[in-house]
Symmetry: C2
Subunit: 293 residues, 2 copies
């Protein structure tokens, strides 16, 4: 009974609101995740989900509604929302998208926690990033966040990026060369290039949607190019273990599921919302329960 009572929400005029905004948001795990964490720490917060089309008005409303403390921002608003911030850190400006908004008495600051969440997933797994040769598969939004975070927060040996979209790839590489001191390489995502780059990499990060439900049998990386000693990180978390990770595990690689990035980006959001250390184990438990593990 005590446990249940502790976990029930008691809402007062002081209760602070956080929310995920996006379109759609009807399948978001974030309300369950953040509310469980608020309750576990006894914090006077509540978290809901709002489908949003008119982003400017939604963010203007948040600014005007005292007690509306934080936003998780998801597709399709992660780029446009930057226009309505008072402040965005340099790293997140360079990445070009944010997923978190913090409201300090009407002053809005935007942050991205996808890149730091990915970095934390890797360091928590014991991966050494300094000195590593990192291969990113994909040059889209998630790849941008991870590439900039790795390039600015560590001393990589080199960062190689592959994509099938040449202009997007060239844009990311040019931005990274301008914004960071990291050694950046790129090539088109062809079977030959994949084979060569995978065999040379210490850490392989799949930032493409390949392998995601319902195409669970797909993988960009042929199993035979993987070897023990490599780390393979797939940002896809549905399924929890993609074909790429199953293959990598079979070949003796260290594997990291996208669910760890998902959990850690939420952990970092929670800490920005509340200023409290997030109850990571409870948050992981909720996510794994909801994802059916």
């Amino acid at each position: 009974v005590v446990e249940i009572m502790k976990n029930s929400l008691s809402i007062s005029p002081a209760t602070r609101l956080c929310a995920v905004i996006g379109n759609p948001v009807s399948h978001s795990l974030s309300p369950a995740l953040h509310n469980a964490a608020f309750r576990a720490l006894g914090l006077d917060f509540v978290y809901v989900a709002f489908r949003v089309e008119d982003l400017r008005s939604a963010v203007g409303g948040m600014r005007a509604l005292e007690n509306f403390r934080g936003l998780s921002v998801t597709i399709p608003h992660k780029i446009e929302v930057m226009n309505y911030m008072d402040e965005i850190p340099e790293l997140d400006r360079a990445i070009g998208s944010i997923n978190t908004v913090i409201n300090d008495d009407g002053r809005l600051t935007g942050f991205g926690t996808d890149g730091p969440g990915a970095l934390k997933a890797m360091t928590d797994a014991g991966v050494t990033i300094d000195g590593a040769k990192v291969l990113l598969l994909g040059a889209g939004g998630a790849a941008r966040a991870i590439a900039f975070t790795l390039a600015m927060n560590s001393s990589l040996n080199r960062l190689q990026i592959l994509d099938i979209n040449e202009p997007m790839l060239a844009g990311l590489v040019a931005d990274l060369r301008k914004g960071t001191g990291a050694k950046i390489g790129d090539s088109l995502l062809t079977p030959g290039n994949v084979a060569r780059e995978v065999s040379q990499a210490d850490i392989i990060v799949n930032c493409t949607p390949v392998g995601m439900h319902p195409r669970e049998r797909e993988s960009i990386v042929p199993q035979e190019f993987l070897r023990s000693g490599q780390t393979v990180f797939d940002i896809v978390y549905n399924p929890l273990e993609t074909k790429l990770l199953t293959d990598a595990r079979r070949m003796g690689c260290r594997v990291i599921s996208g669910v760890e990035m998902f959990i850690n980006q939420a952990v970092l959001q929670f800490e920005l919302f509340t200023g409290a250390k997030a109850p990571v184990d409870i948050m992981r438990k909720i996510v794994l329960e909801r994802l059916g593990k």
Copy 2:
């Protein structure tokens, strides 16, 4: 345990938000009241409080945030908020203020529940309004709401209004004569006029703040002019029983506390928010607990 579990909030992406906006809102009873009612009926709603200065942006935000279902609007925003509605019923336009906003997929409708809440408090107490001589003390915002509601919803014998503010009184009387068919009289709120009008009234409604904490020893109506058979309704609810009501009870009048109007305006808001019949007894219990009875 079952009772506690039933009463704990479970928030999902479908959960709808309601809130009170005002300035200040830090002492609002509304979050406790509406959340208890949502839980009692197992409705997927949550209610918070937002202090608001920039009302236009706050309401624009509500419109843009799907799942933001309803607002209770309190001082100082009950008049200005009308500017941002898509629709307001004629009665509420005539009253000139609203205290409730309903968001139907981005279309905002404003309502006032103070007048209907007062009317419901009277009819619930068994008061016959048709044919009655009603005396309103005060011509401010609450008096306007009650005067229009009574005048438009019933067949009064007459409605007499007293105030010390002659222009405000004249304005209300002119609006009532233009907007309703009721027989309206007015005079300045002087001791002589109070004595005469109180002795002639069937129902006396105090719509002034006289008698409110910390001036609990004050009353506009000298006890000796009250008599058994009259109904005395005081919209003040802090204290729960004002000096006016104590005097009236002593003289054998039927008495109605402002807390019944407060509960009923919230009941009507709850029904607009949810479409469900409000759990009135639970709401009354919460309000009386919070007001220290």
